[in-house]
Point group: D3
Chain length 284, copies 6
Amino acid sequence: MFDIAGYGFTVDRIILDALKEDMPAGDITTDAIFGDDSSVSVSDAVIKAKEDGVICGLGVAERVFELLDGDSLFTCRVKEGEKVRAGDIVADLRGMTSALLKGERTALNLLQRMSGIATMTRAFCEKIDGLPVKLADTRKTTPGLRALEKYAVRVGGGSNHRFCLSDGAMIKDNHIKAAGGITAAVEMVRKQVPHTVKIEVEAGNMEQVREALAAGADIIMLDNMDLKAMKEAVVFIGGRALTEASGNVDENRVRDIAETGVDIISAGKLTHSVKSLDISMKII
Amino acid sequence: MFDIAGYGFTVDRIILDALKEDMPAGDITTDAIFGDDSSVSVSDAVIKAKEDGVICGLGVAERVFELLDGDSLFTCRVKEGEKVRAGDIVADLRGMTSALLKGERTALNLLQRMSGIATMTRAFCEKIDGLPVKLADTRKTTPGLRALEKYAVRVGGGSNHRFCLSDGAMIKDNHIKAAGGITAAVEMVRKQVPHTVKIEVEAGNMEQVREALAAGADIIMLDNMDLKAMKEAVVFIGGRALTEASGNVDENRVRDIAETGVDIISAGKLTHSVKSLDISMKII
Amino acid sequence: MFDIAGYGFTVDRIILDALKEDMPAGDITTDAIFGDDSSVSVSDAVIKAKEDGVICGLGVAERVFELLDGDSLFTCRVKEGEKVRAGDIVADLRGMTSALLKGERTALNLLQRMSGIATMTRAFCEKIDGLPVKLADTRKTTPGLRALEKYAVRVGGGSNHRFCLSDGAMIKDNHIKAAGGITAAVEMVRKQVPHTVKIEVEAGNMEQVREALAAGADIIMLDNMDLKAMKEAVVFIGGRALTEASGNVDENRVRDIAETGVDIISAGKLTHSVKSLDISMKII
Amino acid sequence: MFDIAGYGFTVDRIILDALKEDMPAGDITTDAIFGDDSSVSVSDAVIKAKEDGVICGLGVAERVFELLDGDSLFTCRVKEGEKVRAGDIVADLRGMTSALLKGERTALNLLQRMSGIATMTRAFCEKIDGLPVKLADTRKTTPGLRALEKYAVRVGGGSNHRFCLSDGAMIKDNHIKAAGGITAAVEMVRKQVPHTVKIEVEAGNMEQVREALAAGADIIMLDNMDLKAMKEAVVFIGGRALTEASGNVDENRVRDIAETGVDIISAGKLTHSVKSLDISMKII
Amino acid sequence: MFDIAGYGFTVDRIILDALKEDMPAGDITTDAIFGDDSSVSVSDAVIKAKEDGVICGLGVAERVFELLDGDSLFTCRVKEGEKVRAGDIVADLRGMTSALLKGERTALNLLQRMSGIATMTRAFCEKIDGLPVKLADTRKTTPGLRALEKYAVRVGGGSNHRFCLSDGAMIKDNHIKAAGGITAAVEMVRKQVPHTVKIEVEAGNMEQVREALAAGADIIMLDNMDLKAMKEAVVFIGGRALTEASGNVDENRVRDIAETGVDIISAGKLTHSVKSLDISMKII
Amino acid sequence: MFDIAGYGFTVDRIILDALKEDMPAGDITTDAIFGDDSSVSVSDAVIKAKEDGVICGLGVAERVFELLDGDSLFTCRVKEGEKVRAGDIVADLRGMTSALLKGERTALNLLQRMSGIATMTRAFCEKIDGLPVKLADTRKTTPGLRALEKYAVRVGGGSNHRFCLSDGAMIKDNHIKAAGGITAAVEMVRKQVPHTVKIEVEAGNMEQVREALAAGADIIMLDNMDLKAMKEAVVFIGGRALTEASGNVDENRVRDIAETGVDIISAGKLTHSVKSLDISMKII
């Protein structure tokens, strides 16, 4: 079974659903031209970058064609996570012409999006190069594609935040209000969640930071604080908890934020506002 | 059964899968705080635009909370497709606090993406305002979300291209090569596809335009032609087929392209490079 | 991945569901006899026509056995769409005896139905031989099997109408009433549907034919008209729109209808009242 | 949850899949006309028989509209299994116009097929009226619709054979050959299958009948025997096992077969060659 | 396609769902260590019994690894249903290290449970050795795993009761009450259920036994009767119907019950209170 | 949508699959008796404990009947997690008789298993009462039911270990070997896994404990150590990491283990060797 760094099951499901979405009743053009003897016509194709960026999703693209034509051959010319220039050939492909035509759009839709995420993540990472900070994603991902998008963040050099609501404990305003305070909330959560999970508390000011720390939070999220407040919080916490900066993180501000000394910077933009990397496929 | 302009089945499936992706084993934080008496705590919330844009996906967001809490109330303050300003409240919401917390991210992920698409489409449409041309989407959509993304294009004022490979006939290079020419390809396709489907031929130059027209193409795609060539093709075709401009369509070029007289402009950017509209939810 | 003229995904799903329906907990008879050493016993079988007809679904039948026994061999003696006589052997088959016994009914159920459709379609087509008219199917298909049944119509020599409600625009009485007239309805639909889709209007009399034509309908359905009215409509339309005859089309009337000069004749009977072609499988 | 004589789960799945098949991306015509205010327009409709027959599937048809419009009202004028005449109104229906238009084809496709089966079954049953014999179906059903088709046979007055390979033991030629004789086969099967299941043996001649009876078969299938042989077998068996006649059962032969004294007559024709009962729906 | 005595479809579904449950987003530990070059590292492992018992589920365990690594090799050292001693090596395994680590828990969870059931069943069977009685399971199985659990009972030497509510007729108190007596209930059921199904009636005392027998029940369940009453019932029935003892069957009482002369003893304990057989996997 | 402490989606899926498994084609007995007028007969029932234990799964049992009969009423007499005595009535139930009969087995199968787990967990917890230690479950759960089983452990008073391979980092022998030592393994894992996840290292002796602590493990599993070694390890670690005892934990040893001072004791037995709590349902 196909395995792109552990997500094999998810990847196959995503691809098959995408192909089904694009072909509920075949490809009427291609089927009309190639018909029942479609296996006779075999073609070569190249997948080419049309702008600079970081390639991500080669295994996924390969798998699209493998599912359509078990004998297709997909040969990578670059490695997952490698930088490419406009014009670079990313991979060579050989397979039934009809399979190439049917799989092209699905393969590119996934490859372009994943490369877009890896490219943006890499750009953010380069801004904070040399600083002891991790750039993390969020849950602001595309419904259905979270596994692939979080994988792309890692390929781009970033790090993953919790995968979902089931596997990370994050205490927010409303939890605090309902519990009757940060201390009570942390206690309730610690009592209930697996001991393998760290507890994160969202703090908007120094008072909340102090309470969260006293309550034993493992991670304190500095939520929408200005740089000065963040720096003050980091100094106060002094390594007794991990610190995470969150809110309006963009390419321009990311280095300034990193220099406050926080351990993690999380940026929704990495996945919610993706510009697909321009990549094309050409049958030759 | 829920129906957002005819996509009820698809929408429910997308939402349930998204909720499952985000909660394979519950929301460990919220469950720890609200536990088994979760139905006791009811809250009000507002959904607020944090930047200017066109709202799309209200019915989808409402449905997320309805699926989590059948008694929740979602009251829209703006209409689908309406423009909002940063700060505008888009909808009021009342329901079980735990349902609001669990549904927030999924609802926003969908609402923000759909509004992002509608906003960009509106911007493109305003550029070509007054001209007799349609702005159309492509198949460069997010795997699994095509129905919602194409709906968002319509809400933004755009028009839909074929939904998938099964319901539109588009003859490209490789089809032409395999068939042995445009005329042969059109004939093979016309013979095979339902009579309810128009036949589109991709043409890269005037010679191909002429052949396609002679072969009886219903739509001729002017693929990556420059403005002058497009204008020449439009004049030559003279209404005997629909003309569609395609390739590198962006906000800056779209009016110039429209002025060539083409009937349709298709732009992959509307769906493959979406900037989510900034929208937040706040429990009050 | 298996591909019967582009329907690979659909076909596999149909077969697996059929096998699951027939074996939720194995084949208790065969499992009792062949048990755990079932792979030891290999048999040869023949698939034989027991009445005259047109064979359709060979790839589907082959796939049933392939899914049950990856090493099974299915050798066709006739081609898809070929006419057979009672007694003709259609295919030879070799595989694990238990797989042959378990797959027999599912393979035949599909093969017989598809061949039944192809046979009836061929009979209709022969009636209208030589006339410039297409025989089309409808949406009166078996729930879940539409793709296979429409494929069988094509194999039988017929042509496909729209696949479903999502990919063809057909304006009926109630649409017209709600829109306030044919002209308004056509305009509303043209504004909304993809430009790749033709617009068909159902007309029951000459007045409606005139309105539909004036409104720019691409296809006009002559719904339940008598031969004289149809002929009059065809002459009036004069090639300015495609004409489709619909309503009570059967083998006896089909030639008379064709001679009115309509472009398409659609017949629900091709799929809603199928007589399975008698085909058997015998282990030898 | 919906329950048509115990098949609720299956029925909902079949309907939802059928609606999905017919509307992967909405009903483009109806959505264009009724759009977002589709809930405003409510219509009345009648479902009318256009030929004589036995009605079956009312609950299924009702459920189609209920799934599309939870507030729709479906009022039966006849009872499940009742005979109707051409022109009779079968049911009245009230609901959102768009839901009526979208559900019409799916509801009728199921209702017509089920009524077709019930009608043919009733006709067979009337032929054997007064004789102590049951008319049974087979596994020659439409893949995916077996539950509904077997239900329709019961509504028509027939009886069900085993549902599938998992719940009935039927020993055929190849089982006998592999086991080394009828006696050995029956023993192997009896040892393995649940004690709640009867064991049926296919016999083609008197010698096999004798062996099967001696081996303790609960049911002996008289496979493709002529009338005389069947009568002889029935006399010989003398009530020590149930007898089932099988092979080429049609309306003309069924009474003759019944008069041989067999307990059960099974007829594949009831489900594999169904003529849909002509039923229409009209919005009024 | 994989086939463990006819349950191939079910087995694959169970395994894939189990793997998905255990890896919604990969194995974060293993993926971190082995990463993208996971195919490079290949390991050998042994599966070892850590207590005495009967092995069941080897094919299922093998399939887990096959689905994760198509090239893995699983070599059984014992046969399905064989007794093992603590310390015995059950199978050798070779495959990608990451596949072994990811599949270990799922394979063992299934193998241990199935072996636990087979072990307990064998123990019960040994108690009744030499007596002409069958030990049967019930429907008190684990939701989702019934097919595997009933298979394990057979491997352990037991026999299966009906698989589910659809394939066996069992008349209980409430059916009798609703029908107005045992005789009426048996008649209603016999009229409706397939002729391939035996009819079982639950009887709690001799009066009910007599009524059931007179009504023609094929099987009479002696429900929670004491030994003396059971013996009396068996004598009275005298082979005219199968007798089944049910209620509080455990290892201590099973022989006494068997000696009453009943044909079948059914025991829920075999599947509802399973002690997993201790089996481990060790990479070497 | 139904929500049993956050697992609503999972619970509905499990129940529907269980009902489908038990009724692929209805309940032939109940359908024969109650037929089409099944909604007419309404009954009351009680759910009664037949042995002492801790009740868990009331919401699940209620949901089974709610899915079969939307109007059914399920009234709990005890609370989730409450102790009951043999003979206690757990809940009253009122609904369509046919729904009660069809849902009984599925509801009890789930309720009994969950209560069995909660009962055993409570017994373990009582043994360690007063000590500052948590009793945790493992991944040795029933495939498909992990969410419910881990919920039952919590209801019984226990605590959850990681849910699956995706949401907890556990470094074992083979990871250490492949990484080239504990230190390297911890570094590789820390670099890759989300910062919200704690890192656990399996240690079999003091040397490994020391290395794990030095490498910065958050949790150290004392794997199959004897009591003396565990105590020594706990003292050495001195609160610098959480300590977890694992291996052959049973009711007799659990207090001794707890007294070594470990923070967590994990016991596979809680879920892999469950004795269902004896609970019955009786229609009255």
